[in-house]
């Protein structure tokens, strides 16, 4: 079993060495869409697995369970599709070695953190992904990209430090264990988990775009090459969420004060980011704000679980659905920004309608995964909190408002996309990549019940 996990993480890591020479680079470009394949197989073929490797790092564990599987599935599909797109638009472009090595390393880190059951492995994957993704952010080498890179790396380093301190405290509470599950249990039992909780919420919050820690995100996500924006906003942003889910004492203890605060932050993100995004002038920046807004849904749910632990057993599957839903839809939306649209008016109009389809899911229209995500969330927070949160009666209305704002936000995106200049030569491969992700996103309600 261990070899399957190792293969999933090591393949992209080792592939990075292929950037060295021209001929191996040619090979690497062809391999790029297939690098997440072992991870995809792992996500689909293995339900529950936990392998301890006592000699690795400070005692490592590979882990895959109902919580992690959807993360791995979403990440491998998205990285695969975006990899195909990257090959089509970036092969032979300037700084391709820089792009390829950053891409492979960030991918390896992203997969590693998902299947790590120990804090050191998680943190190692998280750091590898974060630092490598910086290479994707600054790739354009424009003043704007360099500035975004500076803000990105500063926030990333601060996040890493908060994380290190939080994990140290959690490990101390767990009697020195580095296993995430034991840390979560210890945090649940502790009388004074406050400092550790605050640090962990902050450390992962940087990545997840928690309000006040979010400002790097609309700078950094859009400035990367389009396929990199897709994985930044679709997959890597989820690492913060997964971090919270695996280390916080969910379902173990009630933390009303923390929970209410997290819920409030989720709402601010959900509504505020959507509102803010409407006023931006670039399709990709709109999508980045939309990501912050959508992550607000997950933050809101997380806060609800912190308030009411019993909720966890009902909604742990929700997070998996959310991750697949948002990851695939957001990936498709980002990829559509770089698609070459036909020049003829009718064909162009048709293409624009087609690329708008995944947006319907994000808005939450009936028959989409977005609708399922929102309904489940609405049911959970309106029923089970039982007055623990003072503004609970408002929640359903606020969620409806968020749907309206998301609609406006994505209309804005579509408007910006529409007014972009069309090109006559339509490249096929980017469309194939887009089609793959869009189909997976729109078909999610059909196959999700089988997976989750």
């Amino acid at each position: 079993m261990s070899w399957a996990f190792s293969a999933a993480v090591l393949l992209p890591l080792l592939a990075a060495s292929l950037v060295a020479t021209g001929s191996t680079r040619f090979l690497l470009w062809r391999l790029l869409p297939w690098l997440p394949l072992p991870a995809l197989l792992l996500a689909t073929q293995v339900r529950d697995a936990s392998v301890d490797i006592p000699w690795l790092m400070l005692g490592a564990r590979w882990q895959l369970d109902t919580l992690r599987s959807p993360f791995l599935l979403a990440a491998s599909l998205l990285w695969g599709g975006a990899g195909l797109y990257a090959r089509a638009v970036l092969e032979g472009a300037e700084r391709e070695r820089w792009f390829l090595s950053s891409w492979c390393l960030a991918l390896a880190g992203n997969l590693w953190l998902i299947v790590a059951g120990d804090a050191v492995g998680f943190y190692a994957g998280f750091a590898l992904m974060t630092f490598a993704a910086w290479g994707l952010v600054v790739h354009a080498d424009s003043p704007r990209a360099l500035w975004a890179g500076k803000v990105y790396i500063a926030m990333a380093v601060l996040g890493e430090l908060a994380l290190l301190a939080g994990l140290l405290l959690a490990s101390e509470l767990a009697g020195g264990s580095v296993l995430l599950a034991e840390m979560a249990t210890a945090l649940g039992r502790s009388q004074q988990p406050g400092l550790a909780l605050g640090l962990l919420l902050t450390g992962f919050g940087v990545k997840a775009g928690l309000p006040l820690l979010h400002f790097w995100l609309p700078l950094a996500h859009p400035v990367a090459p389009t396929p990199a924006s897709a994985v930044l906003s679709g997959a890597m942003i989820k690492a913060g969420l997964l971090g919270w889910l695996v280390v916080l004492p969910l379902g173990l203890t009630s933390l009303p004060a923390w929970g209410t605060m997290v819920m409030a932050l989720g709402l601010i993100a959900l509504l505020g980011a959507a509102l803010r995004g409407i006023w931006t002038r670039e399709a990709k920046t709109v999508l980045a704000w939309s990501s912050i807004s959508q992550m607000g849904l997950a933050t809101l749910m997380l806060g609800a679980v912190l308030v009411e632990p019993a909720l966890w057993w009902l909604v742990s599957g929700w997070f998996g659905l959310f991750v697949l839903h948002h990851g695939l839809a957001k990936g498709a939306l980002f990829l559509s920004v770089g698609l070459s649209l036909p020049g003829a008016p009718v064909a162009r109009g048709l293409a624009l309608l087609v690329v708008a389809l995944p947006a319907l899911s994000v808005i939450g229209l009936p028959l989409t995964s977005g609708e399922a995500v929102k309904r489940w969330l609405k049911d959970s927070v309106s029923g089970d909190l039982a007055g623990a949160v003072p503004w609970q009666p408002w929640l359903p209305h606020l969620l409806s408002l968020s749907t309206l704002l998301t609609l406006l936000l994505l209309l804005r995106w579509w408007w910006l996309l529409r007014s972009g200049d069309g090109s006559t030569a339509v490249a096929t491969l980017p469309w194939v990549a887009w089609l793959l992700l869009a189909a997976l996103s729109l078909g999610l309600p059909l196959y999700a019940p089988i997976l989750l």
């Binding site: 060295a20 006592p54 000699w55 690795l56 790092m57 400070l58 005692g59 490592a60 070695r97 820089w98 050191v120 492995g121 943190y123 190692a124 750091a127 630092f131 290479g135 600054v138 080498d141 790396i153 380093v157 601060l158 890493e160 430090l161 290190l164 301190a165 140290l168 405290l169 490990s171 101390e172 020195g176």
Partner: protein, 497 residues
């Protein structure tokens, strides 16, 4: 005494090598290189054999009376093997590197003679069984490194050498005073894992505190504790292999190692804690950690930046020693090795940039990554290790130190560790960025073609190998015989008599 020949043979290997090399005429470089490599390999094998024996609980040692009441003692215990293992391993790489680095330059007999002598002293320090023997080798190290620091003979080198000798001989004198006073008070004390002074008469406590301060101040010069660190950044004018020796293999480590011996094997960690000397030591170390990093931030010369980084990193070791409890001890001791492996890599790389491209300043490094990919990869790995990114060596250290601080109820150490990591990131990440991302600006200051690879093979492979080690000691930290496992063993023997 049984088991006497192994420590003696280990010492004799480098002493003999040193004598042969001094005797060789300057132009016999192939014989000289053969002797060098043979001695380094042989010594590594001897140390490995001894380490295996110590692991199994075997005793290696020798003791005889030099003066009435003063004994010369060599003794291989677990902590000795930690330091001996580090120097023997890194010496092999440093020797290979030095052979490549000095190819074709004058006075190589002198250089390699003192080089061997220096490593013989380091092994002596590691294996010394009491303070007197320790002091003997400690001073021998000072004297054998001086010619290496001034090797180039330039006015700048001579000035650095003068400062080096003033600092270290001054420190030696203070150390000697402490050793003599302690001898008068308590007699000749052989190093012992649990210390000696637990049962001392409370009336002697003030004197013991004073002696502790003298010993640590004397050792603190080589360990570059602020404000005794002034010589270290100046001494970076020395050739790169010498910097590696000063910063990673021998000199600063000898100071830190001496503090380990004084705290654990003379005073005993419990007694030192009850005497109240650990907390001030922790403050000095914490201050040095931050100060060194802050100063490193403002250096534009690559080697000077690395030198201030050493000031900061060695203080991690002292910080770990001063955290009462096995976890702190493990963190401090493991960093003795981890810092050595990472810092030797960084100095090798700095030497490669200087020798191959003529680059000395950080802002000249633009585009060096594509020009020298393996060197730059090694540098990048070691830099990330220094910042403390998992799963590299520096992370293991920081994790153990952090847990040690929490266990010792000294949570204020955590912000110090975090701030230092932040500063490390601030002065290492821009270098990584320049190496890989910035395009080359015009010609290199002084480019030389050295062999078919990106640089001379003997300059290239040592840093690549130590960079691989930086990864391995972190990735395999929990495996048997990793530095962490060995530090665990040492701590176990220190806390469980």
């Amino acid at each position: 005494m049984s088991g006497a020949w192994l420590p003696l043979a280990t010492l004799a290997t480098s002493l003999l090598a040193s004598l042969i090399i001094f005797a060789l005429p300057e132009h016999r470089h192939s014989i000289r290189t053969t002797v060098n490599i043979l001695a380094a390999t042989l010594k590594l094998a001897l140390v490995a054999a001894m380490t295996w024996g110590v692991f199994q609980g075997r005793f290696y040692g020798i003791s005889y009376e030099m003066l009435p009441g003063v004994r010369f003692v060599l003794r291989a215990d677990a902590v000795a093997m930690l330091f001996a293992g580090l120097s023997a391993l890194l010496w092999l790489f440093t020797t290979l590197y030095a052979v490549g680095y000095l190819e074709g330059s004058p006075n190589r007999s002198r250089f390699f003679g003192f080089f061997s002598l220096c490593v013989a002293s380091t092994l002596g320090i590691a294996l010394a069984g009491n303070l007197f023997t320790f002091f003997l080798f400690y001073e021998m190290l000072t004297l054998s490194t001086y010619p290496l620091v001034v090797h180039r003979g330039t006015p700048k080198a001579l000035r650095a050498g003068r400062q080096y000798i003033i600092y270290t001989l001054g420190g030696g004198a203070v150390l000697l005073l402490g050793v003599v006073l302690l001898y008068q008070l308590e007699g000749d004390l052989a190093f012992r894992e649990t210390g000696h002074l637990m049962g001392s008469d409370p009336a002697r406590y003030p004197a013991l505190i004073g002696i502790f301060a003298l010993l640590v101040a004397g050792l603190g010069v080589k360990a570059a504790l602020v404000p005794l660190h002034g010589w270290l950044p100046t001494a970076m004018v020395a050739p790169a292999p010498v910097s590696a020796l000063l910063h990673a293999v021998a000199v600063v480590k000898a100071g830190a190692f001496g503090i380990v011996r004084v705290v654990y094997d003379i005073y005993g960690i419990d007694f030192a804690a009850s005497l109240g000397v650990l907390e001030p030591l922790a403050w000095v170390a914490a201050f040095t950690v931050i100060y060194g990093s802050l100063r490193a931030l403002w250096q534009s010369d690559l080697k000077r930046r690395l030198a201030f980084s050493t000031v900061s990193q060695i203080a991690y070791i002292v910080l770990g020693i001063s955290l009462f409890g096995p976890l702190g001890t493990v963190g401090g001791l493991v960093h003795l090795l981890h810092q050595g492996i990472m810092k030797v890599t960084l100095f090798f790389c700095a030497g490669n940039y200087a020798e191959t491209l003529g680059v000395h300043r950080v802002d000249e490094l633009d585009g060096a990554g594509p020009r020298m990919p393996l060197t730059s990869l090694a540098f990048t790995v070691a830099a990330f290790g220094m910042i403390g990114i998992p799963p590299l060596a520096g992370f293991v250290t920081k994790w153990m130190l952090g847990r040690g601080a929490l266990a010792a109820d000294m949570a204020w150490v955590i912000p110090v560790l975090l701030l230092s990591s932040l500063l490390n990131a601030l002065y290492f990440l821009p270098i990584v960025y320049r190496l890989w991302f910035r395009p080359l600006r015009g010609d290199w200051p002084a480019e030389r073609a050295l062999g078919r690879l990106e640089t001379h093979a003997l300059l290239l492979w040592p840093p690549v190998f130590t960079a691989v080690l930086t990864v391995l000691v972190g990735v395999l930290a929990a495996a048997p015989f990793s530095p962490l496992a060995w530090a665990d063993l040492v701590a176990l023997r220190m806390y469980l008599p």
